[in-house]
């Protein structure tokens, strides 16, 4: 059974949403990671931080809440939940670097068995820049990579990243449409197999070696 792109993303986002505890301060990368907010379990409220200086990001704006001066880091108009606030870039990154963010969820171009992450540069091809990703990744208490398992069929979970790193030894967990891995000091550990995959499929599409220790 083949999942559509949309279904794939929903599957990943739903699984990511299980990782939040009530009251967590969370930073979410643009795109897939941001979707996790839509699937929060009941009674779990999180405080979403946006690197451009918003704490307590709410929903996207509509005609009744339109305000050009409140955007998320993608430049899209958002609302601020009650109890939220606005900060400058210095404070925004002090929060990240200082360990005040509980969980960060980011996409990746590559991630490896040592917890290295590459998501800001494909030399000679595509160099958008790291933006806030390096600060985020270094300071967060828990770093989850949420991404499609492969890119055009090629594995993205590698023995060793080949692209320029965003940070070294920082990733704690990888969530894809096929699997959930934890990255421990001893290496990559497979924790969950998605109903849409199998151990064989995961082995075939994962470059890195991993232990299997399902929960």
């Amino acid at each position: 059974m083949e999942l559509t792109k949309e279904q794939t993303h929903e599957l990943i986002a739903r699984r990511v949403a299980q990782e939040f505890c009530d009251g967590d301060v969370v930073t979410l990368g643009i795109g897939l990671p941001t979707k996790a907010v839509s699937y929060l379990p009941e009674n779990i409220n999180i405080i979403v931080q946006s690197e451009n200086g918003v704490l307590g990001v709410g929903t996207y704006q509509d005609e009744t809440t339109s305000d050009v001066h409140i955007t998320n880091a993608g430049g899209v108009g958002v609302t601020i939940n009650p109890g939220g606030c606005c900060v400058d870039s210095l404070m925004s990154f002090a929060m990240m670097r200082g360990g005040h963010i509980d969980v960060t969820v980011l996409g990746a171009l590559q991630v490896d068995a040592e917890g290295n992450l590459a998501n800001w540069c494909i030399p000679g091809k595509f160099t958008p820049g790291m933006g806030g990703a390096m600060d985020l990744v270094v300071g967060t208490k828990r770093l989850i990579v949420a991404m499609e398992h492969t890119a055009k069929g090629a594995p993205k979970i590698l023995k060793k990243c080949t692209l320029p790193l965003t940070a070294a030894h920082k990733v704690n967990m990888i969530i894809t449409e096929k699997a959930v891995f934890e990255i421990l000091p001893r290496g990559l550990v497979l924790r969950e197999i998605s109903p849409y995959s199998s151990l064989e499929d995961i082995r075939l599409t994962t470059d890195a070696d991993f232990e299997v220790e399902l929960r």
């Binding site: 451009n52 001066h69 409140i70 430049g75 400058d88 925004s92 290295n116 806030g132 390096m134 790193l165």
Partner: protein, 220 residues
């Protein structure tokens, strides 16, 4: 008391090859009026310090498209197709910096520090050419101050003493840059007659040299 000037008058403070800081994050909290005047001039060769280079034909992004920028010290260029093109063609120098380090470096200059030690970038390309310093058995990169000839920033509110306040996510780098430049020009969306209350000021007026009336109060 700071001086209130027009965007056209602001241009006189600029000259070729200066380092200029411009506030804003993508299209949020961006000064626009002086940029529109600046692209009418023949000035060029600027080093731009900013969070990003905006979009190709919008506010800050226009400076890229019109070839005014020799070098950009920013955290992100992906949103401006022209920056990406010029960079790939080797026609603009781009010095990509982690966003938090960029903020700290600007503040370090404004606060008279010789630099700050950050764990960000350790084990990555960002290390290159930077001093590494051990503190309590942990490695840090020494990030040095960034100073500009001119800082051009946005504020939502300014009083005539130059005190600034902000609405929403417009604070970004606008709050930091006024401390780190020789000449500070602020585009105030609302230029207000009564002084801001001492408790609500976000950027003290002593950092501000010139105010431009953004005209939201209809005064212009």
């Amino acid at each position: 008391m700071v001086k209130i000037i027009t965007p056209h008058e602001a241009v006189q403070f600029f000259s070729n090859n200066q380092t200029i800081m411009i506030g804003g994050f993508l299209n949020c909290g961006v000064p626009e009026l002086v940029i529109d005047e600046l692209i009418k001039t023949s000035l060029s060769g600027f080093t731009l310090i900013s969070n990003d280079t905006g979009e190709a034909y919008k506010n800050r992004g226009k400076l890229i498209c019109t070839g005014k920028i020799k070098k950009a010290i920013v955290s992100h260029i992906g949103t401006n197709s022209e920056t990406v093109r010029l960079y790939n063609e080797g026609k603009i120098e781009v010095d990509l910096q982690p966003q938090g380090s960029l903020a700290e470096r600007i503040r370090a200059d404004g606060a008279g520090l010789g630099g700050i030690l950050t764990p960000v970038g350790i084990g990555t390309e960002i290390e290159k050419g930077k001093q590494k310093i051990m503190v309590n058995n942990k490695q840090y990169l020494l990030e040095t101050p960034l100073h500009a000839d001119i800082a051009l920033v946005y504020a939502t509110y300014a009083d005539k003493f130059g005190n600034l306040a902000f609405h929403g996510s417009t604070r970004n780098f606008n709050v930091l840059m006024p401390m780190a430049a020789d000449v500070v020009i602020v585009e105030a969306e609302h230029l207000i007659d009564e002084p801001l209350s001492p408790d609500e000021v976000v950027v003290p007026g002593i950092f501000v040299d010139y105010l431009i009336d953004g005209g939201a109060n209809g005064a212009d």
